[in-house]
């Protein structure tokens, strides 16, 4: 492969756009370099294992009878001093068996479970949390508040592992690792399990290293009382990402947010494509709202916090703008192909070579971070980008054998190996970074047809789970631009969590 510089300004511009499109992958690679440094920048040297503050566990519950029985029982059996742990469950005007179940639990564990009930429900998690916070902060018993979800099940030592970091008075919040644990695991949950390893075990370790966290885990966040009171004792109700707002406000107030990957809990994740789409659309829209609210924080130095760290800003925006980057790359490649097919081919190879090596590095590293995730989701890790993207990576890594394979495949299906065929294949490859999001959206639409559901896993295999998530972010842009209502869609859970 001979590399020659573009001869025109237009060529330079298109080349720059394509290389900018590789920015998210380069940010991701840098993130993993930071993970390798975590031993020197983790908070363990300031954690005190003897520090066990009085913790109020705040659980919002809206029609959660299916999941609460198990999660409450596990909470009562945690390896944490009983006189320092109090469970506060806010029943958000449930219409199922939740009230009866909570009454039974209260009788079984007298003095350890507080049940509150809202008369008007369904306004969203943050409103429910605020109802509980009003009561918890009204007396001085609680030294810290653990905000979690009704379906989340904690490992026996998880709360002690979170609490040890609060021995450092500079820490305002600590989060744990939420492990995907649907039982039995299905194809979608295995993808999510792997994604959680990259998004939590890797990304949040890297954020520990730079001293700034982008988002507290919604289901496993321990907040110091001081921090909560400094935020007015309220959780944000104006966005769909109240966890992220809390994270930013904590750090803007000069307090640290810490991720402890060894404080683990287990959660059931959406079992349907539509359920996942709705959940992630809410998250993505929340992130867009947060970006707008805190835009002045990014890329600016501060003596109070590290949210202005350049890498964090790049990582934040490259994730948020990933669909735009993907469209940019495909448009630039196709336009370049119209003017100079040779240059387009060269840039295509550069872009996909970066993608391929970044994919191999980050996937290998992620699978070594957690044995259980590796055992459960290694297949999904390898096909995470989808078979088409993997083929494009294989083409740039091993062009000779792949060229022969593609040629043979074309001949088998009756396509002659002509100039026209090669041009069509090239155009398809150049446009794929955009097309994959369109196909991913089609998978979401096909989920409405019950008879199509058995084959959706095959479609996802071809299109890729990564492009599927990218497509959801794109849908979030559209929803925000349309000013769609910011209603709270509850993620349906069934209580089937495996914790072994």
């Amino acid at each position: 492969m001979t590399i020659t510089a573009p001869s025109t300004f237009f060529g330079w511009l298109l080349s720059a756009l394509i290389l900018i499109g590789a920015l998210p992958m380069l940010c991701s690679v840098f993130q993993f370099f930071l993970v390798g440094l975590h031993r020197w920048f983790s908070h363990y040297d300031r954690a005190d294992p003897a520090h066990m503050p009085r913790v109020a566990v705040l659980v919002p519950a809206w029609n959660e009878a299916l999941v609460l029985d198990f999660s409450v029982e596990r909470m009562m059996a945690l390896d944490y001093p009983q006189d320092r742990l109090r469970l506060v469950i806010v029943d958000d005007a449930s219409t199922d068996d939740t009230p009866d179940l909570l009454r039974e639990k209260q009788e079984r564990y007298p003095g350890r479970i507080v049940v509150l009930r809202r008369q008007q429900g369904g306004q969203g998690k943050s409103h429910t949390l605020n109802h509980g916070l009003d009561v918890i902060l009204d007396d001085d018993w609680a030294e810290a508040v653990l905000i979690t979800d009704a379906d989340v099940v904690f490992a026996p030592d998880a709360i002690a592992k979170l609490a040890r970091h609060l021995a450092d008075p500079e820490v305002g919040a600590v989060m744990g690792f939420i492990r995907e644990a649907s039982a039995p695991p299905h194809w979608l949950s295995r993808y999510i399990g792997y994604e959680y390893a990259t998004a939590q075990l890797a990304a949040r370790r890297a954020q520990n290293v730079i001293g700034a966290q982008a988002c507290l885990a919604g289901g496993a966040q321990l907040l110091s009382r001081d921090n909560l009171e400094a935020q007015g004792g309220r959780i944000d109700t104006t966005t769909l990402a109240e966890d992220t707002v809390t994270t930013f406000l904590t750090q803007l107030g000069g307090r640290k947010v810490i991720f402890d990957p060894n404080a683990q809990c287990f959660a059931e994740e959406p079992a349907s494509v539509t359920g996942l789409w709705k959940q992630r659309l809410r998250w993505s829209r929340g992130n867009l709202q947060v970006s707008r609210r805190f835009h002045s924080v990014f890329f600016r130095r501060s003596t109070v916090h590290h949210l202005g760290n350049a890498w964090l800003g790049l990582q934040w925006y490259s994730t948020l703008l990933l669909p735009a980057f993907m469209v940019l790359v495909s448009v630039a490649l196709v336009v370049m192909w119209l003017f100079d097919a040779g240059d387009a081919n060269l840039l295509f190879r550069i872009f996909w070579s970066i993608s391929a090596f970044a994919f191999v590095f980050t996937t290998t590293f992620t699978l070594t971070l957690d044995r259980r995730v590796a055992a459960r989701s290694w297949r999904q890790a390898f096909v995470f980008p989808g078979l088409v993207n993997l083929s494009l990576m294989a083409y740039v890594i091993a062009p000779g054998p792949m060229h022969d394979l593609i040629r043979a495949s074309c001949e088998v299906i009756g396509l002659g190996w002509t100039e026209e065929t090669r041009s069509l294949l090239a155009l398809f490859a150049y446009a794929w970074t955009s097309l994959c999001m369109l196909f991913a959206w089609l998978i979401f639409r096909l989920d409405r047809l019950t008879w199509m559901r058995p084959v959706l896993s095959v479609f996802m295999l071809v299109v890729g789970f990564g492009p599927f998530l990218c497509s959801i972010t794109f849908a979030a842009y559209v929803a925000q631009l349309r000013g769609a209502a910011t209603t709270w869609d509850k993620t349906e859970k069934t209580g089937k969590v495996g914790i072994s």
Partner: protein, 48 residues
């Protein structure tokens, strides 16, 4: 049931195990880098 000495001892052991795990991350990262370099070498040596 407060923070008994036994409970604190267990928590101390858990902390040292967690620190030990984090120490291994650098090696895992280097291993991943070696995999990438091996792939790059294979590409140059055989597949171009």
């Amino acid at each position: 049931m407060s923070a008994t000495p036994e409970r604190v001892d267990e928590a101390t052991v858990a902390l040292s195990e967690d620190v030990s795990f984090e120490r291994g991350l650098l090696w895992k990262g280097l291993f991943s880098l070696v995999v990438v370099l091996a792939l790059a070498y294979a590409r140059m040596r055989w597949w171009l």
